[in-house]
């Protein structure tokens, strides 16, 4: 009896502690001075030297954190548990961030260096901010596309459903991102990648089931090693710029295929959280990063298709930078591309189908 009572008491205490810890998790952000900016960016994109130059020029210290999951970042901002002044936001998340009133409007007149951005990239903003009131493009779009090894790929691929051809058995590497897979399948079937119609998603699932028979490896981040090692001759991934940036021997070896249903594109944007106490300085940093000379430092460190016009940035980049075929390929894909915003209903539906797809032999 006593043991039971003690156990019950211990369980109650532990539950209370657990609930308290759940509520407190994420609290305790340190206070910062006026000369500090807390920013959160994606790893492997931005040159630290560039931020150091900003610090030297303005005397403002930049504290950098790295995004590991945009959902977590959003939850923290909703709960008021993060004091970031500038965030590097995936385009697909702009709509929910704006809907939750998490972003501050940016004074575009202060970001004069947007004049260097390629016109196509600033013609329309992301879903949820078409007029670019809350965001500023920070990277050229990257595409989820089919990459083929020109020598070893046994068939000609023009659309996503071609990946179901039995000749590709054990030749295919694929990203395991649900929205990219189901989006491409939906587009191929003539539906919208943003569809939440279960019958359409079921059809997309049936196509993916056929394609899965050819898949040698599903990859989380990158299919570069599977392509470079010769393990796979085709990949459905977002790696063409990385592949071409890795080595110029890959330039002739691999090709990025524009798909008939269009290719998914993803753009990143700078955004200033509404709760930021240093909005002016954050905008100052955005404008600094957009200086062609500064942005070029990032591209020299981490190869990427330039966000800015060739006339503005080429002089700061290595001579053969624009010979990289991924730049031309990016321009070719831009006009037949699609993207979707994160949607709770769609994620839940797709994820249950994905679990079924992967759970089946």
């Amino acid at each position: 009896m006593i043991l039971k009572r003690n156990l019950a008491r211990a369980a109650a205490i532990l539950t209370a502690v657990a609930l308290a810890l759940m509520c407190l998790s994420g609290c305790g952000q340190s206070k910062k001075s006026n000369k500090e900016l807390n920013i959160i960016v994606w790893d492997g994109t931005w040159s630290e030297e560039m931020f150091q130059d900003f610090e030297k020029e303005t005397g403002i210290t930049v504290n950098i954190s790295y995004v590991d999951n945009t959902d977590t970042l959003m939850s923290k901002l909703i709960q008021g548990n993060a004091d970031y002044d500038l965030i590097d936001l995936e385009g697909a998340y702009v709509k929910p961030f704006v809907q939750h009133d998490l972003l501050a409007k940016i004074d575009q007149s202060k970001i004069t260096n947007t004049k260097y951005i390629v016109d196509d990239y600033k013609k329309t903003g992301p879903i949820g901010d078409k007029n670019l009131e809350y965001t500023v493009p920070d990277m050229a779009p990257s595409y989820t596309s089919v990459i083929v090894n020109k020598k070893t790929c046994p068939i000609k691929i023009t659309r996503f459903s071609d990946l179901a051809n039995p000749k590709l058995k054990d030749q295919l590497a694929m990203v395991n991102a649900t929205n990219s897979l189901y989006g491409a399948a939906l587009q191929d079937l003539g539906y919208s990648a943003a569809s939440t119609d279960e019958s359409q998603i079921a059809e997309a699932n049936a196509l993916l089931k056929k394609i899965k028979k050819n898949v040698k490896a599903f990859v989380g981040e990158s299919a570069v090693s599977q392509l470079e090692s010769g393990e796979c001759s085709v990949a459905f991934c977002w790696d063409y710029p990385t592949l071409c940036g890795d080595s110029d021997t890959n330039w002739d070896k691999f090709e990025e295929i524009p798909l008939k249903g269009g290719n998914e594109y993803c753009m990143q944007y700078w955004a200033v959280p509404k709760a930021s106490t240093h909005k002016k300085e954050a905008q100052q940093l955005i404008n600094f990063i957009l200086r062609p000379k500064e942005l070029a430092k990032c591209y020299k460190e981490y190869y990427a298709v330039p966000l800015e016009k060739k006339s503005a940035i080429a002089k700061y980049l290595p001579k053969n930078y624009y010979k990289n075929p991924s730049i031309k390929s990016s321009q070719r894909l831009l006009h037949n591309s699609w993207n979707v915003s994160v949607d709770e209903k769609q994620i839940a539906l797709m994820d249950s189908y994905y679990t079924k797809l992967m759970g089946e032999k």
Partner: protein, 293 residues
């Protein structure tokens, strides 16, 4: 001389203090990083998923009801099958190895023990990547075989059942060998000799004497291998190509892509219950928890 009440009280206070000092830090650590997270998971598993992955503190049994769905049952069964195969193979391979080690001279078996422990000192991720380097199309094995003219074109070794088995065996063999070695080493050889003297063949002696006497070690090895295997998905993902979903992947997806933390917590609780049940069966059948480390 009988201790006075005062001295015995003093002694017990001293004992209590030293117990607190010695056990306190470890108990606090276990409470904070083992018990509390499990309680958090348990509480979360009865909560509701809100919009955009937010956890709503509203009681529900829906997360556990969803586990009855055929899709999720398939994933759980598949994980148990893979863990079962890995456990069986590690035991089959580990038992003769442990027997050989137990029969070696102390110095040689010491060296073997160190060799066996090396994989446990290295990060699992590093081990898996080294397998990728060894087994891929342009990897060390294919390059070597082509260099000596044994094969003309690279053979597919990566993303096959072969690579998964290699990886799993390498990762879990030490967990299986150590308890079996300890059991086999303690085996009373007089009993084996008695069996042979009474006319039993070596095979009969093995099945009637050696195996039953070393079964506690085998059972401990089963527990130590099966439990981590059930939730382990890195090998199947990175060496097997991730073409099937295991319970580990499923839990990972709920906390990341699906953004359904309460359901992820319910799945984690199921996994924890399977583990506790196995340990419970082990102790009920007379197993010693010390043998599990």
């Amino acid at each position: 001389m009988k201790p006075t009440p005062h001295t015995s009280e003093k002694k017990s206070l001293k004992d209590r203090l030293s117990a607190i000092v010695l056990c306190g830090p470890m108990t606090a650590w276990s409470l904070l990083f083992i018990v509390v997270p499990i309680v958090i998971l348990a509480v979360m598993s009865f909560m509701t998923k809100g919009a955009l992955g937010v956890i709503v503190p509203k009681f529900t049994l829906a997360n556990y009801k969803a586990l009855g769905d055929k899709v999720y049952l398939n994933v759980i069964v598949q994980s148990l099958i893979i863990a079962g195969w890995t456990t069986g193979l590690t035991i089959l391979l580990g038992y003769p190895f442990a027997t050989a080690m137990a029969r070696m001279r102390a110095r040689t078996s010491g060296v073997m023990m160190v060799l066996l422990m090396i994989p446990m000192w290295v990060s699992g991720l590093v081990i898996i990547y080294s397998f990728v380097i060894l087994l891929n199309h342009s990897g060390i094995i294919n390059t070597f075989l082509m260099h000596i003219g044994l094969i003309k074109s690279p053979k597919s070794m990566l993303y096959t059942n072969f690579s998964v088995i290699c990886g799993m065996l390498y990762m879990f063999l030490p967990f299986a060998v150590l308890p079996m070695y300890s059991s086999i080493e303690k085996l009373d050889h007089n009993l084996v000799e008695a069996s042979q003297d009474l006319g039993a063949s070596p095979v009969r002696t093995f099945f009637k004497v050696t195996l039953p006497l070393t079964s506690p070690g085998i059972f401990a090895a089963v527990i130590l291998t099966f439990i981590p295997c059930v939730g382990y998905y890195m090998v199947t993902d990175m060496l097997g190509g991730g073409t099937s979903m295991l319970i580990g992947n499923l839990i990972d997806r709920q906390f990341t892509i699906a953004r359904n933390w309460p359901f992820g917590a319910a799945l984690s609780m199921v996994l924890a219950i399977v583990i506790f049940a196995m340990v419970g069966i082990y102790t009920k059948l007379g197993g010693n928890l010390d043998d599990l480390g």
